[in-house]
Amino acid sequence: MKTKLGIIVGLVSLGSVVLAAPQKFDFKDPKSVNNIVFQLDAPLESINGTANGISGEVTFDSSDPGSINGKITLATATLHVGNPMQKEHLHGAMWMDVTKYPEIIFEAVKAENVKTSGNDTTADVTGKLTVKGITKAVVVPVRITYLKDRLKDRIPNKQGDLLVLRAKFSIKRSDFNINARNGEDKVSDEIQLSLSLAGMAAK
């Protein structure tokens, strides 16, 4: 009897350890919902656009959200604005030079000021942002939502968990040599970014 009880207790403990283990979430979204919205102030109207070529992997432990780490990559060729001439300039050598620099990479290093309430965690994630081959350290306030067993609601016949990341922050284009010669009188130096990403960990 004692042996059986011991085995049951052992299995339960092992199960909880397995459940609490860090999970890897894939951010290549088959539904192409994942996106980044960018905005720059300009005289006639602000330059607004999006990009959805997102991939990468994030490791998240629901029992230790502060240990979050991973890498998110954006394909620069997917940067889009509504005006075709602006898009041509945006993809060109002066701006994003998408042929030479096909990716923007954010690599999370550490999380601070971690606060968890239910499924939601907020944290200041410090990471390395690489744009046009220039890497700078940035601190991004991130809202993380862990949706356990909700993958099937998004992608039928697939079991697993979802991890939703939302972030709003800004960078300076002069820091990353993005048309650095163009003064702020024409286009603002600040680029406001808004990230809406969902990753999945299939079981």
Binding site: N35, T50, G82, N83, V164
Partner: protein, 83 residues
């Protein structure tokens, strides 16, 4: 010929203004696609959807006005037929 040029200038100018007015009176740049957002129900994320649509902007107005102006002033270079 003079009359044709004047009529074309007026048509281009009025057509441009009419297209801009009917296209939403957009005071920004001309767009060939317009962004709309949808909420994804499971994650609550805002999905960005680009819809192909021509929205004439101020540059479109200026271009049609300039084209109309060129035609209008060209009409002065054409000699009137003597009857």
């Amino acid at each position: 010929m003079k009359k044709i040029l004047l009529a074309s200038a007026a048509a281009l100018l009025l057509g441009g203004v009419a297209a801009w007015f009917c296209g939403g009176r957009h005071w920004g740049w001309t767009k060939t696609s317009v962004r709309t957002t949808k909420i994804e129900p499971v994650t609550g994320l805002e999905e960005q959807v680009w819809e192909k649509r021509f929205v004439p902007g101020v540059d479109f107005l200026v271009a049609t006005a300039a084209g109309g102006g060129v035609l209008f002033f060209s009409s002065f270079l054409v000699r009137k037929k003597n009857h």
